[in-house]
């Protein structure tokens, strides 16, 4: 470990952050798949102009 320089630490940090974010996405995807029915998840239809939704009103991108 005493041979580690600052750049190597940066490399390990990059691997670590990548791992955390990758696992977060996988975990959230699995959790979402389990939490909502498949018919809800694939209910989007092309070309629907009216944004009638839906689920989870607090998460409207701050635009309501």
């Amino acid at each position: 470990m005493e041979n580690l320089n600052n750049f190597q630490l940066l490399e390990y940090a990059a691997w670590g952050i990548s791992g955390v974010l990758g696992l977060w996405m996988l975990f959230d995807m699995i959790r979402t798949n389990a939490k909502y029915s498949e018919s809800t998840l694939i209910s989007s239809r092309e070309g629907e102009i009216e944004d009638v939704l839906v689920i989870d009103p607090p998460h409207q991108g701050g635009h309501r």
């Binding site: 320089n5 750049f7 990059a14 952050i17 990758g22 209910s43 839906v54 989870d56 409207q60």
Partner: protein
């Protein structure tokens, strides 16, 4: 705070939160990295003057693309962009191919950007005196971190693109002003431009890399289902993006050919950064390095956005397993498509050389542009002006479509000169997957459900 049950019990769709600025950032953000690196290989193919001819010829090609895209997309307001256009105007087999062109073009471009970002960080480590520095951790970080951003929501994703793209654009303008182009104190274009060393064949060969000035501007259409006003925002964002790129491309060319001999410029890896180094100004060097990194990140970010929308749209129509057509109920993004494309991008980024990755991306893009010329003629024939409401009507039809087709044909020849094997391999790949779709996959498609636009019957049907 999340809610596990649906209020209306049923629907979840992509979120309409984007404005024209985001559309501009999506288009210019994907492309601007081509100004920072890559375009200059055109100089190596045919000299500085050939690169300028290629720059403006490709600019004409992409102006046609932007005009055609703006008109069609202002009526087909759906994620998937050209894929959705092909489905409604030409037919399912064309749509399947166009969808794949888009996914491969953007995923490979994303991989190319990640390779470049990794290289730049590695180069900084080397310049700082560190030994045994690696690029792979930063390649992986670029792809995974930007995929995570895309997963979490389109508004934050494209706002990020807007900020970094604006800074990268501004860096080019600042460099242009700093070299005082109105004097000959710094720039010496008269001494460095040497005509056409390889004649007109060199000009045609240069076209291959002339595309890098604009490759990806057509990606603005992928945002069609997430902009607040598609009929206004898409044409506005796309056309202003094209104007930005034409100006930035010409500035970039003038700065670089005025500072570097064509023999060096033709093989430089980071020409704009090198130009900043030649000015001798430390702050300009730092600013252009930041611009280079930001343009790379903006491009990779936009590519993830676009590739995932195209993949998602194909899944939603069952051209691919419908599992990919899911929208995240909280973040309102095509989350499964985003996650699925992460390992695909990693395989290309870690396992293939940069020039091959970029060439496959360019070829997929070219196939898409060729489709657009046919698509536009069919669109006007089936639905003439006045039959459906258009947010934008492009002028001089059918001239842009014919010009586009002609320029695509010349560019195929240019690519064939340098990468003939890849061109043939790509064609074989698309023929095989077309056969798979026609003979196997299409039976799973719900044929009536895929045509969603409330258009009148086409003329002649």
């Amino acid at each position: 705070m999340t809610q596990s049950t649906a209020i209306h019990g049923e629907k979840v769709s992509l979120l309409r939160v984007l404005g024209p600025g985001h559309v501009w950032a999506l288009g210019v953000g994907i492309v601007l990295v081509g100004e920072y690196m890559g375009w200059n290989f055109a100089v190596g193919k045919g000299g500085a003057l050939a690169a300028l001819i290629a720059c403006w010829t490709a600019g004409l090609l992409y102006t046609c693309v932007a005009m055609i895209d703006s008109e069609v997309t202002s009526t087909v307001a759906a994620a998937g962009g050209q894929y959705a256009q092909a489905k409604h105007i030409v037919g399912p087999l064309m749509a399947f191919n166009v969808g794949l062109f888009l996914v491969l073009a953007y995923t490979m471009l994303e991989a190319g950007n990640a390779i470049t970002a990794g290289y730049l960080v590695q180069a900084v480590g080397g310049m700082a005196g560190f030994e045994g520095v690696h690029d792979k951790p930063f390649i992986v970080l670029t792809i995974v971190a930007l995929a995570w951003l895309n997963y979490r929501g389109v508004f934050a994703t494209l706002t990020f693109s807007l900020i970094v793209t604006a800074i990268a654009c501004f860096a080019i303008v600042v460099l242009f002003a700093a070299v005082r182009p109105w004097t000959d104190d710094v720039l010496k274009p008269g001494e460095l431009i040497n005509g056409l060393p390889y004649g007109w064949l060199g000009v045609i060969a240069a076209l291959h890399f002339g595309l890098w000035f604009y490759l990806g501007i057509e990606g603005t259409t992928q945002a069609a289902e997430e902009v607040r006003s598609p009929a206004r925002a898409l044409p506005l964002g796309t056309m202003t993006g094209m104007i930005t790129l034409l100006v930035a491309a010409t500035m970039t060319w003038y700065i670089c050919v005025g500072l570097m001999p064509w023999e060096y410029l033709g093989q430089a890896i980071t020409p704009l950064f090198d130009a900043a180094r030649l000015t001798g100004s430390l702050w300009l060097m730092v600013f252009l390095f930041v611009g280079t990194i930001f343009s790379t990140l903006a491009s990779a970010n936009g590519c993830i956005n676009d590739a995932s929308r195209a993949w998602f749209s194909m899944g939603r129509d069952r051209y691919l397993p419908v599992w990919f057509g899911a929208v995240h109920p909280v973040y309102r993004t095509p989350f499964r498509s985003i996650v699925f494309l992460v390992p695909v991008a990693l395989i290309f980024a870690l396992g293939a050389p940069l020039d091959q990755v970029i060439t496959f991306s360019i070829l997929s893009g070219l196939l898409g542009y060729t489709f657009m010329s046919f698509n536009m003629v069919m669109f006007r024939r089936k639905w003439p002006l006045g039959s459906i409401r258009r947010g934008y009507v492009h002028p001089f039809h059918p001239l842009p479509a014919f010009v586009l087709l002609l320029l695509c044909s010349v560019t195929y020849f240019a690519v064939f000169l340098g990468y003939g094997t890849q061109l043939v391999a790509m064609m074989v790949f698309y023929i095989i997957v077309s056969a798979w779709f026609a003979f196997h996959r299409y039976k799973y498609v719900k044929r009536g459900d895929q045509f969603t636009m409330a258009w009148p019957r086409p003329v002649g049907y």
